[in-house]
């Protein structure tokens, strides 16, 4: 009997603990409009707003953490945070290591940007390391110049180190628009990846289920499309 009471108490206690768990959201904080650090020094952007809404719908307490892009997957599988929400495209390669929720942006186009519209995209092309764009550049036979942060890839084009940069178009649009004609899109858009999803550990099926449901509910009532339009402009692809 004593044992029964004890185990019931232990169960109640562990259930209480489980519901009080904080979900730690890992992001890069250097990829506007997806995620960036705002003037107040906090994580901001499309994914901040989306993530907070998803946590509210899934009734989770969430906390934001920034991590270097290069070590963002190892730190997830090691349990230093519970999700990756960092503009990470769903690819087969990554899917072998971690699991993805359903995508929360439609498969979006990547684009080349150079100093002029006729820049040589088969010459030296900059891309952020360990991204689908870097993999694509390597496949096209152009010389790939990798950088640890997205911002440095743009700087490389500006200072002539690279002929062009390949990145998500949503990231490039505000940069090209505000460059006063210094930068221009080159050639056609390149469709890459299967959209952007949240990364979770493969063993974390429960959390994945919760976020999947929350994303689905946002897709169903149209709030996700509204949010995409707010951050990426009216021409952005929606569901």
């Amino acid at each position: 009997m004593n044992k029964l009471i004890l185990s019931v108490a232990a169960l109640a206690l562990s259930a209480g603990l489980a519901s009080a768990q904080t979900v730690r959201m890992g992001t890069e904080g250097a990829y506007p409009p997806y995620n960036f650090i705002n003037d107040a020094g906090e994580v901001d952007g499309f994914e901040r707003e989306l993530g907070d809404e998803l946590c509210a719908r899934a009734e989770l307490t969430c906390e934001w953490v920034t991590n270097d892009w290069d070590s963002i997957i190892p730190n997830l599988v090691s349990g230093n945070y519970d999700t990756i929400i960092a503009g990470m495209s769903i690819t087969d390669e990554r899917d072998e290591v971690i699991d993805f929720t359903q995508n929360y942006t439609p498969p979006a186009a990547s684009a080349y940007v150079g100093l002029s519209a006729d820049a040589d995209v088969t010459g030296i092309v900059a891309a952020q390391a360990a991204t689908i764009q870097a993999a694509h550049v390597a496949e096209t036979g152009a010389t790939l110049l990798e950088f640890p942060t997205p911002d440095e890839t743009i700087a490389a084009v500006r200072n002539g180190e690279a002929d062009a940069v390949l990145a998500d178009k949503d990231f490039l649009v505000p940069i090209v628009n505000e460059s006063n004609g210094e930068l221009a899109f080159v050639g056609e858009d390149v469709p890459l990846g299967g959209g952007i999803g949240m990364g979770v550990r493969e063993s974390d099926g429960e959390l994945k289920g919760k976020f999947d449901a929350a994303i689905q509910s946002m897709k169903d009532d149209g709030t996700l499309n509204a949010m995409i339009k707010k951050w990426f402009g009216d021409e952005a692809l929606v569901f």
């Binding site: 768990q21 250097a30 506007p32």
Partner: protein, 294 residues
């Protein structure tokens, strides 16, 4: 920060700059300066302790202890820092959690290693999953201190090992002639005399350590170089009230001045210590001091 900062778009010149340099984001870089200094202040003595332990172990007459010291020195010195920081820290963190898991959740029925995933029970997490962010940051900071201490400790151990060998044999012989035991000769004769031989090597290590702090970001600790890169990168008006082109050059110039100033101060202090340690030593510099005084 200041009351006139509500609409930065209308400001110019120094007022704009005063607002820009006091945004919440800039306060983060000022904090990071403190973090780096604190890290150095804690790491340097810890690494020295590790080094002293490693060197004493390597000199030990007890063979397994001596092997342990020598293996520590050669393995850690041989592994590239970046590999050490990427993999060792994650492994160390997992080792802590694994031990806690074994102690706190003995009836856990799932595997700890599930494919790529490392899964321990919620109670064994370090820090606990629902701990505040500052607890996580402090934990990351001390993990960083420990990692730096192990890496730089190995180099320090080699320096100290060499310094211990450099103390003239005649000094130890004299100690033995006075009837001192090995232990007494070590602590009273060898250790006080070795520092003068160790200091040039140790000061090199200190300089390298000062500049190694950008490795911190691999551990999730945001250091000054991370913030300089983040703040200096070009900003578009859509996402900030303070848009600017690529200003990394200015931020890195500020870092350059900070690091040069810091190393200069270190040099002055180390020179003072060296002069102090040389006093009365059986070295050329010690001899020169004696002659100058006479």
């Amino acid at each position: 920060m200041f009351s006139y900062c509500t609409d930065p778009g209308t400001l110019e010149g120094l007022t704009w700059l005063s607002c820009y340099l006091t945004t919440g984001k800039h306060q983060s870089i000022y904090w990071a300066v403190g973090t780096v200094l604190l890290l150095l202040a804690i790491t340097a003595p810890t690494a020295l302790l590790f080094g002293f332990g490693g060197a004493s172990a390597a000199r030990s007459r007890f063979a397994p202890l001596s092997w342990f010291g020598k293996i520590y020195i050669s393995v850690v010195r041989g592994v590239p820092d970046i590999a050490f920081f990427l993999f060792f820290v994650i492994a160390l963190d997992q080792a802590f959690e694994w031990v806690r898991h074994k102690v706190k959740c003995p009836d856990w029925d799932q595997e700890v290693w599930q494919g790529n995933d490392f899964v321990v029970c919620a109670e064994a997490k370090l820090p606990l999953g629902n701990a505040a962010q500052w607890v996580h940051e402090t934990y990351g900071f001390f993990l960083a201190v420990l990692t730096f201490a192990i890496v730089f400790g190995a180099f320090a151990a080699n320096v100290l090992y060499g310094a211990m060998q450099a103390v003239p044999r005649a000094q130890i012989e004299t100690a033995e002639a006075y009837g001192m035991s090995n232990r007494q000769a070590f602590w009273r004769i060898l250790v006080p005399q070795m520092w003068v031989y160790a200091l040039p090597g140790l000061s090199n290590l200190w300089m390298v350590l000062i500049k190694a702090t950008p490795l911190l970001f691999l551990l999730g600790v945001e250091d000054i170089v991370y913030w300089a890169r983040e703040l200096g990168g070009s900003k578009t008006a859509q996402f900030t009230d303070y848009p600017h082109p690529d200003w990394r050059m200015w931020y890195f110039a500020a870092l350059l001045i900070f690091y040069l100033g810091f190393t200069r101060v270190s040099e002055i202090v180390l020179d003072k210590i060296m002069r102090r340690l040389t006093k009365g030593q059986a070295t050329m510099a010690g001899e020169a001091q004696r002659k100058a005084a006479a």
